[in-house]
Symmetry: C2
Subunit: 874 residues, 2 copies
């Protein structure tokens, strides 16, 4: 840290962003590019941090440094503060390292006092303007720097307008405004106990303190939390001489993008107002004109501006968002920054810039925030429609997209309503595998419980279906078929709308916009594929999902959850028969009924995937998930299966678990009932033999054993499996290649991965469960308090969304090292939900995994993240 806390604009450059803030660095850069930037200086972010150390006061040395720079500014401009003819006025603006639009405070026209107001009147030839500016400055300063309630000034203004019997500020005369200035100053001294400061240096210091303090105002803190910005960065303060766009018809102010931020089209895009200040543009009193109109009204200025925008874009090598003011035909550039844009525009701009040879492909790949691809793949709400919508609540953005429909509270009702032609939203406290059909039929899913990896979230993402999960504020009564939230009660059949990309839940039916994929998207993804080194597979259980994923460029299946195949109505009776069997014989018979179904399942997947790798996870959930829970369902099951109701209840009770997550599931089932996995493996291998005989010579199923925690478990189950595979080979008189591997999802498995690799040919990280057990967080329950953890800054991010590198990531690292130490070429992948989350994908790259696997709609996102990881790590 240096002792220099204030930089003239010509002392900085764009690389000094962390010291000068984004705005300050850009002002410096533009100054050094000889662009017409009103001169000024920047007080650094380090000063902001020291300000907090100094108990939120400006210390002596900083005071001196500021004074010195003010003097310097006066000299350079030939203007001085409190001048009766041509006074110096400045703006004071925050400037964080990362732009936080509208989050912090700004003060304009600082330097106005009882003397300089006259100078301003003289230099602009507009006394009314000068006093209106003074009035506004007092109010802004009082509000921002001194926290005097704005309403006190507004009341005076309203009184004055009432007296003058008008509704418009503009109808007030300069005399009225002079009076208001006096009244405003009185309010100030009443509230503060001091006269309104006439000394510009005093004004400035109070303003600087206010900006520093605004770094920690609640809305700024919330913004940073949402956007993952550290609270420790601090903000810089930019003090810049004022220029005026409101000096008549040869003045004006505006904003322009060097390219179209909605479409990416390479054409200047923007608007301006003649005879106006920036705040007038924001206030929207007059309708601004399109930037192209400037060519007509002031062609020289337009020409100069166009050249400058081109220069800036070339210099920054990206589309710029530029603020400018024209003061008496003189153009000033007030700000430039990289322009925000839609995902579609981002792709088009990046591709165009490569073609224009401005940037390399690698740079283009870095330009797109992977998650924004969601905008390209899913419908979104129409912006206009959204503005009028009633926001009911906000849950977790569990699966992106926008959906509207009538609410129904169980799968059955959704299926029926859909059959009647209705659009439905399935609303549940939480979903379970029994709800699958309802989820398929619904436009979207809303749950009041569960986190980012709850059943609803995982399944919805798999389907590419919009889902808002864990919306705990909403009370769902499945019995009464209604939801209560705030003062609303919504009954079955009423409309709601879900935004799965933000987690917002709205009342009513909101218009949607369908995504369009431009040709540039395809080209961009080709570059992504060229650059990235990790494969991207998909989690898919059906040929339909697999097809969808292939369209998005999936290179294999990393996780086929076989249990999803068990819920089909043709199969569930056999599954239940299997579970309710009391002898191995009965169980084998029930499994024999399932075998042809399972074989067809795998056959379907193999056919779609051609010879791409397919990893099949053997049965994972506890058996009780397959049994009905409601009395009437149990009764009809009893009847159908010709078993005593009591007996079924006994069995259900026996299977019930206190902590099902840590219960009798995964390979533990196979230790107790080896015949289940044997049936599954037989189906996998028989199907593989069939496609091999039909030309897929290289078919090589990857059989994955879940929930292994101990090498002996794996040995035991693998032994059983191989026995069955050998039996199939013998029967069919033909063999196929296959691999046997395991999930690494239990901490003990990670810790003892060296042992486990003696038997496992591949590891696939199940980071959902590894996070659950590593943290001791139940994904179904933690939603309730994880929010609070993030709000209280205990956790930076929900570890179910992004891999917790220090803890869960460390377990992964131990496992990777252990696995490689035993089996040098062990295949390593991830199939947890994190496999589609960009920062987690990057982490997987750093760990040296060969592939990630994610739900179909996340495949492009994962690919982009994988390519970015390569570029970042060059």
């Amino acid at each position: 840290m240096t002792n220099k806390y204030v930089y003239n604009f010509n002392e900085g450059k764009k690389e000094m962003k962390s010291l000068l803030g984004g705005k300050g660095a850009n002002l410096a850069e533009m100054t050094n590019l000889d662009l017409p930037v009103p001169p000024g200086f920047t007080i650094t972010t380090e000063a902001c941090n020291r300000f907090y150390e100094e108990n939120e006061k400006i210390w002596v040395e900083l005071h001196e440094e500021i004074k010195k720079h003010l003097k310097d500014l006066e000299q350079r401009l030939g203007k001085s503060f409190s001048d009766e003819d041509n006074p110096l006025l400045v703006s004071v603006r925050s400037g964080a390292v990362t732009s936080m639009p509208g989050m912090m405070d700004t003060i304009l026209n600082l330097g106005l006092n009882d003397i300089s107001v006259k100078g301003l009147a003289k230099s602009t030839g507009n006394e009314r303007f000068a006093y209106d500016s003074y009035r506004r400055f007092i109010q802004m300063f009082s509000d921002v720097a001194m926290e005097i309630p704005k309403v006190r000034f507004d009341n005076l203004l309203d009184d004055m307008k009432e007296k003058k019997n008008t509704e418009l500020d503009t109808d007030l005369t300069k005399e009225d405004l002079k009076k208001l200035v006096e009244q405003y100053k009185e309010v100030y001294s009443e509230e503060i106990g001091e006269e309104f400061p006439q000394e510009p240096v005093k004004q400035l210091e109070l303003a600087i303190e206010a900006v520093f303090k605004s770094w920690n105002n609640p809305r700024a803190r919330v913004y940073r939390k949402i956007n993952n910005i550290s609270h420790k960065l601090g903000t810089a303060v930019n003090v810049q001489s004022m220029v005026f766009g409101n000096m008549g018809e040869t003045s004006g102010t505006g904003v322009a993008f060097t390219r179209n931020p909605a479409t990416g089209e390479n054409k200047l895009f923007g608007e301006y107002l003649i005879n106006a200040q920036g705040e007038d543009v924001v206030a929207g009193i007059r309708t601004p004109q399109e930037i192209s109109h400037l060519e007509v009204s002031m062609s020289d200025v337009f020409e100069e501006f166009k050249n400058i925008t081109r220069k800036l874009e070339e210099h920054y090598k990206d589309m710029q968002d530029i603020e400018f003011t024209i003061e008496n035909k003189k153009l000033y550039i007030l700000q430039t920054r990289t322009g925000k844009r839609t995902a579609q525009a981002a792709i088009n701009i990046a591709v165009d810039l490569v073609k224009e040879e401005v940037i390399e492909k690698e740079e283009a790949v870095l330009r797109i925030e992977p998650n924004t691809l969601n905008q390209l793949l899913h419908p979104t709400f129409e912006q206009k429609a959204l503005e009028n919508a009633e926001l009911l609540s906000k849950g977790l953005a569990a699966s992106p997209g926008a959906a509207s429909g009538r609410i129904y509270f169980n799968a059955h009702d959704v299926v029926e309503a859909k059959a009647r032609g209705e659009m439905c939203i399935l609303v549940r406290q939480e979903t379970s595998p029994e709800d699958i059909e309802g989820m398929v039929s619904a436009e979207g899913i809303l749950t009041s419980r569960g986190g980012m990896t709850s059943h609803a979230a995982v399944v919805a993402r798999g389907m590419g279906k919009c889902c808002v999960a864990g919306c705990s504020e909403i009370r769902v009564s499945e019995e009464k078929k209604e939801i209560r939230v705030k003062d609303f009660v919504l009954k079955e059949g009423e409309y709601i709308s879900l935004d799965g990309s933000t987690g917002n839940v709205y009342k009513g039916n909101i218009n949607k916009v369908q995504p369009k994929l431009s040709g540039n998207f395809g080209e961009f993804m080709e570059w992504v594929d060229e650059i990235r080194t990790m494969s991207v597979r998909t989690n898919a259980d059906t040929p339909k999902d697999a097809n969808q994923a292939l369209e998005f460029g999936a290179e294999g299946i990393g996780l086929c959850r076989t249990e999803h195949m068990f819920f089909d109505e043709k199969r569930i009776p056999s599954v239940r028969k299997m579970i309710l069997s009391t002898t191995e014989e009965e169980r084998k018979n029930a499994l024999a009924e399932l075998l042809p179904f399972q074989r067809e399942d795998f056959l379907g997947l193999y056919k779609v995937m051609k010879e791409k790798p397919v990893t099949v996870r053997l049965l994972d959930p506890p058996l009780h998930e397959f049994l009905p829970t409601k009395k009437e369902d149990i009764e009809s099951l009893a009847k159908a299966m010709n078993i005593d109701y009591e007996n079924i209840m006994d069995r259900i009770e026996e299977l019930d678990e206190v902590n099902p997550m840590l219960g009798h599931r995964g390979c533990r089932l196979a230790v107790t009932y080896p015949e289940i996995y044997k049936m599954q493996v037989r189906a996998i291998i028989e199907a593989a033999i069939e496609v091999k005989q039909n030309g897929f010579k290289d078919i090589k199923p990857e059989i994955m054993i879940p929930l292994v925690g101990h090498i002996e478990e794996l040995k035991y189950v693998k032994g059983q499996i191989i026995e069955e595979i050998e039996a199939v080979f013998k029967e069919k008189e033909i063999e196929v290649d296959y691999m046997i591997g395991t999930m690494i999802e239990i901490p003990r498995a990670a810790i003892t991965a060296d042992e486990i690799a003696t038997e496992a040919e591949f590891f696939s990280f199940g980071t959902n469960d590894l996070t659950q057990m590593g943290f001791g967080f139940s994904r179904d329950d933690a939603g309730k308090f994880l929010d609070e953890y993030v709000n209280k800054e205990i956790l930076e991010r929900d570890p179910f969304q992004a891999i917790d590198r220090k803890g869960v990531g460390k377990l992964m690292e131990i496992a990777v090292e252990g696995g490689k130490s035993t089996r040098e070429n062990i295949k390593l992948g991830i199939c947890g939900e994190h496999g589609g989350e960009p920062s987690s994908v990057e982490f997987c790259y750093e760990l040296g995994l060969q592939y990630v696997s994610c739900s179909p709609f996340r495949v492009p996102i994962a690919k982009l993240a994988a390519a970015q990881a390569v570029v970042k790590n060059i």
Copy 2:
């Protein structure tokens, strides 16, 4: 591995136990001590293992080696096989490294055939005896070596007796026996398709094969599993020349202990039968005589025997169990081994041997299996009474002791029955904190679910109360108030008996024996205390438990579970009010009601513990555990609290969790509701101030924060706590020392222990939860399949009983290293249930922990284990 597979007795020594087996090594040792051991040789355990590699056949080289040793034996004894005058006969016995009494097979009188039977008749002068021996040998050989059903021979014997119209074998004449021999040989050739082997070498090899095979018979495998003996050790086979105790009134056979195995008294203890073989003693046909009687009947022999026993005890430095035979006034020693003994005898013998200067204190400490101390601390069933008892089932030996009582199915009924003066057993599917009062009133607790660390098990151990948990075979219907097991239905009020040391559950009321602590116990424990370096604390929540633990020598409290204090009927209303509060204010009021109770709790503990360390764990369980679950209880709560029934139901539903183990509990509660811990900490500190003011200058409470997984959690909660402590100091104008530490019970905490130690002054390992999360086993559910895991040898031991060193232990190791790397002198302890399990205590010693903490009744066990760890690691 050498190529030598057969050792003459004089080639071995007692240190060669792993090669020669226990019996073989001792026979060798005795041979070399010049004791009168009938000569013979031992086939090694390595031969047994190779036997299995050779597909369970004796290979050529071994065949040759055996033949060579047989020849040698014939030469040494001047006897030969198949001799018509004085034939050599041998016994063939198994001999494992660790004694497995009765588990494997033995064949006597091998070498008898149609010729040698005549020789035996001649040499013994007893033709009837010779043919009876031959008959028995054929049957034994056929049964053991050839697996011919014994019943076929028994039928022939019965036919013969019927024909002779007698019930006694002894009434059969030598002619009858000769006939039987012929019939037996016919059975043999029918069954095997070959003549009965006349060649002794052939007989011997078949017998050796049979003994090797018996190593893997089911009862031997089960025995090894129960006793934690590896299946890989193999058994040796001892071939020894026969001597006969049944050659008339100057012959006999017997067994003696060098000291009394029941009391430890230093006096020869044993019995013998004149004119008998070993099997006659076992059969119990005649009543044996006390060993002292031998002095009267054969004083020379007795004198020799006494000298030999003294010599053997001196040589082995431990009480010996010796088998002997007298053949025509000549004494032979057939076997010596360390004698089994009761815990009481073990202590007395060990102490006596130290006083006799035979062994050192360190050796004495190693002599006692720590778990056997349970016999000294808890009542046991009377052996005789047990023999007639009906065994209903077997569950987990969750808390030692013996208890009988009438069964009741809920806490309320137990309390009422106890008030009527009944002895009760509380029977539940599983217990919950609501059952505490019932557990206090019951003699013992039986549950059908849950493992070694289930609620029932943990609480019962804490109380020193007998408990059998997870007895899954028993179907408990709490509604019908009955249990069903096998064909029995037991109704409320019927008697059962529980053995908490074995897990056995019996029908009816069985007499019990109360333990007696001899003076030697105290002296022994003093040596233990001298030797051990780790402290032993106790887990105790009440002054009563703490007092009990102090009596057993506890050196502090390692875990005070504050939630146990919340269930008292005076407090639970306030607890519930706190939980049902909707505002912080309401919650604070409810907590204020609890504060005086909590203060009294800690005051009570401090007073009992004097200035010994007391670690208080702040509230740990999820809040829903404190709410009622039955409709009527909820209704009465609603009435009592004047809250809507619906509202309470809403709140209960809201608090309900899918996986409570991984839910909103521990320090997570304190993140959401900081005021709960603040109240508890205030109580801890105010109580400490009070005792400090009353003379306990060195009081220093250790405040333990549970369920920390992330450094930021700890920081946050610690910050809240310290704020409250400082407030108390200010109010009271006096300070006390205190420490703040954390449980290490979440894998992530272990992994990031280096970070956590920056804030934690001590770590206490919560190995129950660390095992749950490390393995992904719910302790409430895993009972169902863990048995199978142990049976299928997937796990060596239930990891909730003994620390899994490779996985959970590795996490502990990482945590110890991490903790020390940040805070060199960090205090390290364990308060999980493993803290009282000997092998786990040893592991904690190896890890370098400073203390273990366990339930009061386990304190002596933990102390002994801690001392043994020191001795073993010298």
